[in-house]
Each structure stands twice: as structure tokens, then as C-alpha cells.
């Protein structure tokens, strides 16, 4: 039994502002059905940049519904500038706190709100493109983790999992999360000196990394990858199985394949998908 506050219980029992705004000025999304929670938020914003109405639809547990519900109450009547200042911690505080394992529900509410504001203000994508996918199970990126660390003063991998879900399933990214924490708190991790590779060594090494490190991960999700060609730092690949045609394949390619190769080769590799 979770130790939910009266406020949380009140909100999941009688959620406020449930539904959809058909002519919304901004909509935001966070989470997915496969991950176990998903949220959509709809905003009406007037010409003075005031949020005049907000509605939500949430697939999730009691605290996810409560976080969404209280968030809509918090933003109606506020200006965009005020809304932008709201953090996930504000959402949790408004509910009188959430159990540690449930903090990610408040983060999800905040992410959906951020998504809506970014789309509304046209600030989309440039930051998102640079972002790196850390947790493949729950699609959590480096920036999301960094934001959670900053806003909530997180210190351990377990904290990060409680707030973002990253590392909560297969656990493969726990080392990466620790590295992000170390970087944030300025702890230097050992960097290995990597000798320069010859062209032949490099091809061999890239092939081994793809076979041993990348391909097994993709196969877990029913996909696969095939090395087609290497030209300098450009690596040409084909995606197979469930990966080909997957909406997230660009993310997979850039965030996972490219970053893994960069990390292990210590070179500015660029991965390019070859279509069939």
C-alpha cells in the first residue's frame, strides 16, 4: 500500500479538468502505453499569453492521475511566463509530496507541460536533436535526467530511477546514469587514452562493436542492424526487423548506435541509415 497523501487521494478520486480541448492552442504529451504511463495535456492560451483553460487525459496510476489533475489547476489563469517556472517539484509539493518511487509521475506531468509550451512557442527540436537517449526501456534522455538531477538535487542512481524511471527495467543504463551524475557533480571519471587506429583496425573494431554491443540490444526489441560500409568517420548501416519503419528508429540510430560507437572508439563517428 502506497503512502499517498489526502491531496493525492482526493485528486485520483475526483480528477479535475479531465478531457480534451478540441481547439486547443497547445498540446503536449509524455510517456507511452508500453511504458505504463502516458499523459496528454491540452491548453487554451489567450492573446495576452494567459492559460485560460487546461485539460488532461492520463493512462497511469493514482499518483500519475493526481499529478496531471493538480497540474491543470496550477496553470489555469497563469501567464506563460509563470507556467514556465513550474517544476516537477512544485507539482509534487502541491500534492503534499509523493512516495519516492512515484516521483516520476510528477516529472511526467512536467514533461507534458514543457512539450506543450515548446510546441506553442516554437522552441522545438534543436535541443531535442542534441539530446542522447540513456534509458532505452523507458525512452529517457540525458537532458531529462539532467533536469531531474538539477531540479530535485538527486544524488544517486536510485534517486534518478525514482524520478525519471531511467534504469528501472533492464538496468543496463545504470552506468550511464552514474556517469551523468559524476559529470554533474564534477567528479572526474578515469578517461582512457585511446591510440589512433589504422583504417583496417577501425573497420574491424566497428564491426565487432555492432555485432557484440549494438545488435544484441536491438534484437531484444525484435530488430537488428547490418553494417553496409565505412567511409572515414561515416558509418553506413541498414536497419532490420522491427527497427525498420519504427518511429523511434532515428532516435535509436543517433542516440544509441552513434553514441555507442563514439563512446567506444573515441572518435566523431556519424551513423547514416541506408534505405532498402
Amino acid at each position: 500500500m502506497w503512502d499517498y497523501t489526502e491531496e493525492v487521494m482526493d485528486h485520483y478520486r475526483n480528477p479535475r479538468n479531465v478531457g480534451k480541448i478540441d481547439d486547443a492552442d497547445a498540446t503536449g504529451e509524455a510517456g507511452s502505453l508500453a511504458c505504463g504511463d502516458a499523459l496528454k495535456i491540452y491548453l487554451k492560451i489567450d492573446k495576452n499569453n494567459i492559460v485560460t483553460d487546461a485539460k488532461f487525459q492520463t493512462f497511469g496510476c493514482g499518483s500519475a492521475v493526481a499529478s496531471s489533475s493538480v497540474l491543470t489547476e496550477m496553470i489555469i489563469g497563469k501567464s506563460i511566463d509563470e507556467v514556465k517556472k513550474i517544476t516537477n517539484k512544485d507539482i509534487a509539493d502541491k500534492l503534499g509530496g509523493l512516495p519516492p518511487e512515484k516521483m516520476h509521475c510528477s516529472v511526467m506531468g512536467h514533461e507534458a507541460l514543457e512539450d506543450a509550451l515548446k510546441k506553442y512557442l516554437g522552441e522545438e527540436t534543436s535541443e531535442a536533436k542534441k539530446d542522447k537517449l540513456i534509458c532505452k526501456c523507458f525512452s529517457v534522455t540525458e537532458n531529462q535526467i539532467l533536469n531531474a538531477i538539477k531540479e530535485n538535487n538527486l544524488k544517486t542512481v536510485e534517486d534518478v530511477t525514482n524520478y525519471t524511471k531511467a534504469g528501472g527495467a533492464c538496468g543496463h543504463c545504470k552506468g550511464d546514469i552514474q556517469a551523468i551524475l559524476n559529470k554533474f557533480y564534477n567528479k572526474k571519471t578515469k578517461t582512457e587514452e585511446v591510440p589512433k587506429l589504422t583504417a583496417a583496425q577501425k573497420i574491424l573494431k566497428i564491426n565487432t562493436i555492432i555485432e557484440n554491443r549494438i545488435s544484441p540490444e536491438l534484437r531484444k526489441d525484435g530488430g537488428d542492424i547490418e553494417l553496409v560500409d565505412i567511409d572515414g568517420n561515416k558509418v553506413y548501416v541498414k536497419l532490420r526487423g522491427a527497427c525498420s519503419g519504427c518511429k523511434n528508429s532515428t532516435l535509436t540510430l543517433k542516440s544509441f548506435v552513434e553514441m555507442t560507437l563514439r563512446e567506444l572508439l573515441k572518435e566523431e563517428i556519424e551513423v547514416i541509415e541506408v534505405q532498402n
Binding site: A38, F59, A169
Partner: protein, 399 residues
């Protein structure tokens, strides 16, 4: 406002039968002697344990009461069996188990893997049935142990233990079969001799004894080393002064459960089927997350698509109904049920799965109440879901 509580989470734990409580009370009050003591006062305790051992012997169908060890819980029984068998077969490093075992057993195998054991996890099909060919292929000369549950805690699906034993023993006579009987005990007849089981774990609180007592059957020709080392108790297989009142309780509970097996197979099954059929028929986004056949009579697992399980449980709890879910959120683990995942249950229903488990104390009136409440709760929660289009399509298909 006080509402009557309807308890449909009997696979989690059960209420203590009044008769069990009555039987154990004297051993919490006046009969407190240590059963190892020589004086006749100690003899009262020793006599009570002897009686309980016979009751459990008959409950599991063992040849001799010497094959029964009392423990503190199901997890201790499983740990004693698994570690005990491996410890006396140090040269063999291969174990076979299933993908749908209880987390207590799976965690132990993950630990053993780190210690150098090779563990094969046999999969199940969409009906939850074990892949027996995969099992047969996996058994080899190095296989020390095959570990398999009798009935699954989440779906109630029964594994064909007798057939499994036959498959294993015909490939390697020396391979031991450990059966986690925790969810079968008190729900279906068990006979370790007939089924060809070497070790069987049961837990008292799953069949109306209190929490804090379990039992382990170890076939006379199966050697194990003890998990808890100390005194001579339990024929050297489990040290520690016997928990007399609780041992009396599990003995009494075993006998009562044995006597109630027909009732389980008829009345309890009838109520379970009534609940299941009504919900599947009347709730458009409900689907059965388990097979129709080969199940214990008290369990059903229903997936409510596009609605999250914890939210359903919280709203059911507000209506006085206790059930459980395989959703990620309820466990705090972030991951949904490994059992339903292994069966390939679609994720639309995975997170919205609800398990109802009845007992011999469940009444028809209670089931009728649940049948009237659940559709209203789901109807209310559907309105919050962001997947309105998917739900509309589902509704069209059902009608």
C-alpha cells in the same frame, strides 16, 4: 460510512480459519514447553508437532512423515530445497527453471548465476503452457535441478508436474525436481509420490494458516544440506527451536484444506467462473489474461485495456474490494508482470491486469457485489484515458 469488505486477493494471503486459530491457541498459552525437553510437559509440544507432521504428510501425499520439514515460510522452504540440493551435488552446475516462477525463486537463480551456475529459463506459450520440448532438450548430464511451480500465482495456470517429472527422469535419473507448490496447496489435490516430485515447498498462510510457517517435503532418497545450521531439530535439516503453535496451525490448516478440495473444485470454481464470465461479457475492454483450462479453481486474471491497473485497484479499494494487479505501478518495480509478459499478453492489457483470487470463504453475495461494481469503476476510469480512439474501436468490435 462503513462498507463490507470483499477480499478477493487470496493468492496474496488468506484469512486464518477460526478452527486453525483454536487449535494453535493452547500452544501460545498453557502448552509452551520446548518439544525437545525430557519431562512430560515437553512431550505435549512434541506430540502436537508429530500430529501436524502427519497432517502435512497426508496433505502432500508423502509416504512418510519423516519427509516433512517445517520452516518459517515458502521462501525458506524454496531456499532450503534449492541450495540444499546444489550443496550436496557440488560438481553439477546446471539448473533449469521457467520464465514464470515466483520472484522469490527467480531472484535466487539470478544470484546462483553470479556464482557460476548456468540456468536455463523455459518459456511458455500464450496459454501459459510450458514448452515441454524445450525442457526436454535442456536436460543434460550436468543438470542438478529442475525447478518448476505447480500453479502460477498470477494466472492460476497448472503445470503438468507428473509429465514434467517423467521427461526429466527419463533423460537424467539423478536430476532432482523441486516444485514450488505454494499456489497449488489447498486449491488442487497434491500427491508427491504419484507426481514424481523430489522436493515440494508450501506456505501456510496461502491456505488459512497464519503467516510465519511453511513446510518442505524432501523425498527420503533426496539429500540436502541444511540452510539454517544449529541444533538437531527437523532431523538436522532445519535448526532452531520448533515454532510449535504455528506448526500446529499449518497441520490443522492442511487437514481442513484437504477436506475442502471438493468444495474448491465445485463451489469456489463456480463463483470464479461467474465473476469471470460476467466481467468479460459486460465490460467491453476486458480480456481474459489466462487460459480457460488447466487452472486452479480460485483464480482469474483479467486485463482491462487502456486503463492502468493500480488506478483500478485504488478505485476498487474505495468500494471495499481487495484485488491485485500485474501492473508496473503497483509493485514499485516499474516493470509489469514477468508472467504476463512471458505469455505475450499485449501491453494494452498488461498494465491494466487485475487478478481476483477467491477462497472457500468467498460468498455468492460478495461476487454479485463485485460484478455490479467493476463495470461502473472501469466506465469511470475509461473517461480519463488518453486512448479514446482505440477504446472506441474496441467498443465497436465488442458490440
Amino acid at each position: 460510512m462503513t462498507r463490507k469488505m470483499v477480499y478477493l486477493d487470496n493468492n496474496a494471503t488468506t484469512k486464518v480459519d477460526e478452527k486453525v486459530l483454536e487449535a494453535m491457541l493452547p500452544y501460545l498459552k498453557q502448552n509452551y514447553a520446548n518439544p525437545s525437553s525430557i519431562y512430560s510437559f515437553g512431550g505435549i509440544s512434541a506430540q502436537a508437532i508429530r500430529k501436524a507432521r502427519v497432517q502435512v504428510r497426508d496433505f502432500v501425499g508423502a509416504k512418510s512423515e519423516k519427509e516433512i520439514i517445517f520452516t518459517s515460510c515458502g521462501s525458506e522452504s524454496a531456499n532450503t530445497a534449492i541450495k540444499g540440493v546444489l550443496d550436496v551435488n557440488k560438481t553439477k552446475k546446471h539448473i533449469i527453471t521457467t520464465k514464470v516462477e515466483h520472484p522469490c525463486v527467480l531472484s535466487l537463480y539470478k544470484t546462483l548465476e553470479k556464482q557460476g551456475y548456468k540456468v536455463d529459463y523455459i518459456g511458455v506459450n500464450a496459454n501459459g503452457e510450458l514448452d515441454l520440448d524445450e525442457l526436454e532438450n535442456a536436460v543434460n548430464a550436468d543438470t542438478a535441478l529442475v525447478s518448476c511451480m505447480w500453479a502460477n500465482n498470477e494466472t492460476g495456470i497448472i503445470f503438468p508436474i507428473k509429465k514434467i517429472s517423467h521427461i526429466i527422469k527419463s533423460k537424467n535419473k539423478e536430476t532432482k525436481l523441486f516444485v514450488d507448490g505454494v499456489q497449488a496447496a489447498g486449491k488442487i489435490p497434491m500427491n508427491v509420490e504419484d507426481a514424481g516430485i523430489d522436493l515440494l515447498a508450501v506456505s501456510g498462510h496461502k491456505f488459512h494458516a497464519p503467516k510465519g510457517v511453511g513446510a518442505l517435503y524432501v523425498k527420503s532418497d533426496t539429500l540436502i544440506s541444511p540452510l539454517i545450521i544449529g541444533g538437531h531439530q527437523e532431523r538436522g535439516k532445519r535448526a532452531g527451536t520448533e515454532n510449535v503453535p504455528y506448526i500446529v496451525a499449518i497441520g490443522e490448516a492442511a487437514q481442513l484444506a484437504q477436506d475442502a478440495l471438493d468444495f474448491e473444485a465445485t463451489t469456489v470454481k463456480h463463483l470464479r467462473d461467474k465473476l469471470e464470465n460476467s466481467l468479460i461479457k459486460n465490460v467491453f475492454n476486458a480480456r481474459l489474461n489466462t487460459s480457460l483450462n488447466n487452472r486452479v479453481p480460485n483464480t482469474t486474471n483479467i486485463g482491462f485495456e487502456y486503463v492502468e491497473g493500480e488506478l483500478i485497484l485504488l478505485h476498487l479499494s474505495d468500494m471495499g474490494i481487495c484485488a491485485s494487479s500485474g501492473s508496473a505501478c503497483t509493485s514499485g518495480s516499474l516493470e509489469p508482470s514477468h508472467v504476463l509478459k512471458a505469455m505475450g499478453i499485449p501491453f494494452t492489457a498488461l498494465h491494466g491486469s487485475v487478478r481476483f483470487s477467491l477462497s472457500r470463504f468467498t460468498t455468492e453475495k460478495e461476487i454479485d457485489y463485485v460484478i455490479s461494481v467493476v463495470p461502473r469503476v472501469i466506465d469511470k476510469l475509461i473517461k480519463i484515458s488518453p486512448f479514446q480512439e482505440e477504446l472506441a474501436t474496441l467498443r465497436k468490435h465488442k458490440s
